[in-house]
């Protein structure tokens, strides 16, 4: 039985791991390589690493660091940040990354997605959709470049279009809920899930394993990603990498965990 994927999401800023709140206020949480290694030993389902500076500052991915991280992963690794070309995507796949994630590049040039899919296969092309609710009408909107650029695009329509253009997975990220640990944006997820038939991964707001459990019960096939949840512990936000043990994760896959047909 295909299990829900539970995915730690790590952010890299100035070469170090950070955690943000609503995409701001980065708190240093340590060395990326050691974190990746610990997650690997915890046998996480898969791992997502995003360089939040690269696209914004026009930098390309730090291939040396990426290769080192990929070498430590005995589970799939998805990397995002600063990707703009098919050649970069191919090179990263060659370094041992299973999936490559794009955000601003997908907005700028949707043809890029198809070209990447042709080379490395659709399953390795991921589009990250950062969604911020803004304006007087509180309309959700796709934002890019670490939340600094507003595109005016509607997330649901955008999800459909990148899917058509060749994305093999969509990561739906709520900027408003980032770092708050107050639950996923279930309403937004429901609207996007309706139109998406590639795997969907959601990010932003997970506060406890209960949030993940609730998500898996509603959507049997989904990716539940989290940053703060797997990196912080307790009310003083101690930095301590944690992840649900296999016994807890396995419960999610049991048929009884599913909603009645």
């Amino acid at each position: 039985m295909l299990r829900p994927r539970i995915i730690p999401c790590l952010l890299i800023h100035n070469g170090g791991l950070v955690k943000t709140v609503q995409f701001g206020d980065p708190k240093y949480v340590g060395d990326p390589l050691n974190a990746v290694r610990i997650f690997n030993e915890k046998e996480v389902d898969e791992l997502m690493v995003v360089d939040i500076d690269a696209s914004r500052h026009g930098r390309s991915p730090n291939e040396q660091l990426i290769a080192q991280m990929a070498a430590e992963c005995r589970m799939p690794l998805c990397y995002g940040g600063g990707i703009k070309s098919v050649e970069q995507v191919e090179r990263l796949i060659g370094l041992g990354v299973e999936k490559v994630a794009m955000s601003s590049a997908a907005v700028a040039d949707s043809g890029l997605l198809g070209r990447c899919a042709e080379r490395v296969g659709r399953q390795s092309v991921v589009v990250v959709i950062d969604v911020k609710t803004s304006g007087l009408l509180r309309k959700p909107e796709v934002v890019t470049l670490n939340g600094t650029n507003r595109t005016g695009l509607d997330p649901v329509k955008f999800a459909q279009s990148v899917q058509e253009a060749g994305a093999g997975e969509i990561v739906l990220n709520s900027v408003d809920r980032d770092g708050k640990m107050a639950g996923y944006d279930l309403e937004l997820i429901e609207r996007v899930k309706k139109v998406v038939h590639v795997p969907l991964t959601v990010l932003g707001g997970a506060g406890s394993f209960d949030d993940i459990r609730a998500l898996a019960q509603r959507y049997p096939v989904i990716g539940a990603a989290a940053g703060s949840l797997f990196v912080f512990k307790g009310k003083y936000r101690a930095v301590l990498i944690n992840y649900p043990p296999r016994s807890e994760r396995d419960v999610l896959a049991r048929p009884s965990a599913r909603p009645a047909a």
Binding site: L2, R3, A71, R74, I93, G96, V120, G223
Partner: protein, 202 residues
């Protein structure tokens, strides 16, 4: 010695690291000469079928592989697209495959998988048909899958293990010295490491 066929696609590093840690000699083959002397071969692969076949054909390794596998009879393990390439052909592309196993590669059918998403992505349980060879000693195996097309052998005798996505499909195949896994053992933690060790010890 495990020989990794490097034709430009596939996670060579991951396989190399695993065998390194297991202290099993491993080499990366980029020349036909290396393939010709190989004792056992891993054929990795990611990406689209045609692109992979094109790269393989252009790498210069194709003929040496055919020779070593079909005539030499050395064990070969195709992984993901590497396995798919061993079929006659794929719905995904126009180029012919290696034809090492009588099979076609088909797209998961919407009528079978319902509204489950494609590609098939994530950890899924694998049910070996027998407890020998690749799955020897592995308890409750589960592996990471990442694919939109599946391997459909003509003969069910070639199915070494199944997984379920809508219905059962071949998660692993074996015919004489030719083995294949649709899933990624190099990215499936201990289950994958054990399977790769088993392959090295065949």
């Amino acid at each position: 010695m495990v020989t990794l066929a490097d034709y430009g696609l596939g996670n060579i590093q991951a396989f190399a690291h695993i065998y390194d840690r297991l202290n099993i000699p491993v080499e990366v083959a980029t020349t036909p000469g290396q393939i010709a002397k190989a004792e056992r071969i891993i054929l990795p692969g990611v990406g689209a079928f045609d692109w992979a076949m094109r790269r393989l054909n252009a790498s210069g390794l194709r003929e040496a592989l055919d020779e070593r596998v079909l005539k030499g009879g050395v064990p070969v393990l195709g992984v993901c697209v590497g396995m798919q390439m061993m079929a006659r052909g794929s719905d995904e592309g126009a180029l012919p495959g290696l034809g090492w196993i009588d099979a076609e590669v088909r797209k998961f059918d919407a009528s079978v998988i319902g509204d489950s998403p494609l590609p098939h992505m994530g950890w899924n349980d694998v049910h070996p048909a027998s407890s020998g060879t690749l799955f020897r000693g592995i308890e409750a195996p589960r592996y990471y899958f990442l694919h939109t097309y599946y391997f459909a052998p003509d003969s069910s005798a070639d199915v070494l293990a199944t997984a379920n996505y809508g219905s059962d499909f071949a998660a692993a195949v074996a015919r004489d010295n030719v083995f294949g896994t649709q899933f990624h053992p190099e990215k499936s933690h201990q289950w994958g490491i054990d399977l790769l060790r088993n392959f090295a010890e065949l």
